[in-house]
């Protein structure tokens, strides 16, 4: 009895506040825009019972989704989000892997400090970390002051409000998510495997590619998903660091909702975003499951 309660409470909470809301988003994505509060007319009326369901089936249309396909803004935003997420995930991996490797190979007594140093920014406000780059990257910012000061450039670089700034912001804020899963695998890597590879004729570098990289695969995959999936829907970074031509779907959704007050279209945008994310989310979960099984 008590055991059942233990399951039911969190289960119902998540059903009510996680799953049902998605159903509602889906429902509203099928409704029509109206000038009212809430600013839509429901096409599916639960109160009308069976008759309501029939009316719904009759009036069912995907006009909001059709609208998304007619306006190039939307699919361009989806594609551009995917591209930005992909490139920034690769950049994060390129920067994060050497750091994780360095941490795993540091003397034992350094490691707790190094881990703390990676986690510390993670506890610090995300907003503030993104904000800190605004002062650095702006035209009269610290980076331009520095570069002009040492004479590398004579005219300031325009970095803020470009995609470059968005990449920098993403790599910066998501780096701990890449480092930690890779580190946790590298740290447990049996050193005798590398010695065995060397003993069998590998150089240090080829032992790294043939042994270390394949064995840290699960960490790499986990890190990449932890960056890639949330970045697709990222809103704060493109809004603060990106320019008017930085198209990301999270930003489009926000503007559709708060600026245009078109809730049905915003919901349709969310539904498609969710559909895009379902595959990577399932893959991510499989990877986590596999790793847990491998550990136990």
């Amino acid at each position: 009895m008590r055991r059942a309660l233990l399951i039911i409470v969190p289960y119902c909470w998540l059903l009510a506040l996680f799953l049902i809301p998605f159903a509602i988003v889906f429902k509203i994505s099928l409704s029509d825009i109206a000038i009212a509060i809430p600013p839509y007319t429901p096409t599916l009326d639960f109160d009308a019972g069976w008759q309501g369901l029939k009316n719904f089936a009759k009036a069912l249309d995907f006009e909001n989704f059709l609208f998304l396909t007619t306006d190039a803004l939307y699919w361009k935003a989806y594609l551009s989000s995917l591209r930005i997420a992909l490139i920034s995930t690769l950049l994060t991996l390129l920067i994060g892997y050497p750091i994780a490797y360095g941490m795993a190979n540091a003397p034992d007594h350094w490691r707790p400090t190094l881990i703390m140093l990676v986690i510390l920014p993670f506890w610090t406000s995300f907003l503030i970390r993104v904000y800190s780059w605004m002062g650095i990257l702006s035209t009269e910012g610290y980076l331009n002051q520095f570069l002009i000061g040492i004479g590398i450039i004579s005219d300031p670089l325009a970095i803020l409000n470009t995609n470059t700034a968005v990449y920098i912001g993403i790599v910066y804020t998501y780096l701990p998510f890449m480092i930690l899963p890779i580190y946790s695998i590298l740290e447990r890597l049996d050193g005798s495997l590398l010695e065995a590879a060397e003993d069998l004729g590998c150089s240090r570098i080829s032992a790294f590619w043939l042994i270390t990289v394949p064995l840290s695969r699960n960490g790499i995959i986990a890190g990449c998903f932890l960056v890639f999936i949330p970045v697709i829907g990222e809103f704060v970074i493109p809004s603060l660091l990106g320019g008017s031509n930085t198209l990301m779907i999270g930003k489009v959704l926000w503007e559709e909702f708060f600026n245009n007050r078109d809730w049905p279209v915003a919901s349709a945008v969310a539904v498609i975003l969710l559909l895009i994310l379902i595959v990577p989310i399932i893959l991510f979960q499989r990877n986590e499951q596999r790793q847990r099984e491998a550990e136990s």
Binding site: D190, S192, L193, E195, A196, A197, E198, D199, L200, G201, C202, S203, S206, L210, I211, P214, L215, R217
Partner: protein, 374 residues
């Protein structure tokens, strides 16, 4: 006669495969290897035996190339190996944990070193097949390491390290992870494989039985030094020190003062008890302290005083360890010393002559005990 025996270490003309010359290895203040000089010959099965921390693993890692000597020189086939990195040495190692690559199949684990050599694919196929056959692992070629048993892992690790036909194979506690029965079987298998391939093996172990079974020579180590390196029978029968006598097998050590007598010494070990006698080549001054080491199986146990034996001593049975095929009696002498004596149980339990508290006579021959000066 002596031509048939494999004893290159007794042949002054034999050229060693490996020679250590005044090799010292320090880690900070800790001396892992203390100024060692010795040789190992081709086709030997050489065992480094000692408790953990005695330096045996360091010795092996220096040969593999994972450590470099602080002082001294190690040469392999006459060539100084210090500048050669591990991946270029004609030495392979079988790791204690086996270190099988978990992401590769058995086949690919064995082929790993061959591929690094740039061997032709056909030749790799043939060589891997040969190794699988040697270790009887043909059926498991496509399994991953987590899909095979501990004994099978051990064989794969052996096949992998032998695949490159190294001049020297290092085995770090190769059987340590196996259970007792499997370990015994595998010991003989190792010897077979060593004879078939003709490779020189160096094995590191803390298990004296394992070292005695497989090795042509056993080196007993302690605190970074080889105390004695000799054939298993000589190590057992003629230990050069109390440490070796005590480390290998069961032994009773009796401490006393010596006085020369005939071609040996009498050992005065306790007030009121007759001295014991042992033949010995040692040259000791009258009255110096020395140790007498006696193996339990060399002592006879009897109810009556034996008439002929020069070493006969009376005591009471304090404990009996029944081991099935034989029993070890712990006999307490009048001065409190405990002497261990062994007797074969050639009769059924009920008919055995001695039990607790019985007064018995222990006796042994003049050559049975070994006199040691340290």
């Amino acid at each position: 006669m002596s031509d048939l025996k494999f004893e290159p270490w007794n042949d002054p003309k034999a050229v060693p495969l490996i020679s250590f010359r005044n090799v010292t290895k320090r880690f900070g203040d800790f001396i892992a290897i203390d100024n060692q000089t010795f040789d190992i010959f081709e086709h030997e099965f050489f065992a480094l035996l000692g408790p953990s921390g005695c330096g045996k693993t360091t010795m092996m890692r220096m040969l593999a190339g994972f450590e470099t000597p602080t002082e001294g020189k190690i040469s392999l086939a006459g060539q100084d190996i210090a500048p050669i990195p591990p991946n270029k040495r004609a030495v392979n190692m079988m790791f204690q944990s086996y270190a099988l690559f978990p992401h590769l199949t058995v086949w690919n684990n064995i082929a790993f070193g061959l591929k690094r050599e740039g061997m032709a694919p056909d030749a790799i196929d043939a060589r891997v097949a040969e190794m699988l056959k040697l270790t009887r692992m043909e059926k498991f070629a496509s399994r991953k390491p987590h899909q095979i048993s501990g004994g099978q892992k051990q064989r794969v690790a052996l096949a992998r390290s032998l695949a490159k036909a190294p001049k020297l194979l290092l085995l770090d506690e190769p059987l340590g992870a196996l259970d007792a029965k499997l370990r015994q079987e595998t010991q003989f298998e190792l010897v077979d494989i060593q004879e078939k391939t003709g490779t020189t093996f160096i094995i590191v172990t803390h298990d004296q039985e394992e070292a005695m079974t497989v090795a042509t020579r056993v080196a007993v180590m302690d605190h970074g030094q080889i105390i004695q390196a000799d054939t298993p029978d000589r190590i057992y029968e003629m230990p050069n020190s109390v440490y070796v006598a005590d480390f290998i097998g069961d032994v009773t050590i009796i401490k006393g003062r010596v006085s020369p007598s005939d071609d040996g010494y009498e050992i005065h070990h306790a007030e009121g008890l007759p001295p014991l006698f042992a033949k010995s080549n040692l040259s000791l001054k009258n009255g110096t302290g020395a140790y007498l080491a006696i193996r339990p199986e060399k002592i006879s146990i009897a109810a009556e005083q034996p008439s002929s034996a020069r070493n006969a001593i009376k005591g009471a049975i304090q404990d009996i360890a029944y081991l099935g095929n034989l029993s070890t009696y712990h006999v307490e002498l009048p001065n409190g010393t405990i002497v261990k004596a062994q007797a074969t149980n050639n009769r059924r339990l009920a008919n055995r002559p001695f039990t607790w508290e019985d007064e018995v006579w222990l006796s042994w021959t003049d050559t049975a005990a070994v006199l040691l000066d340290h």
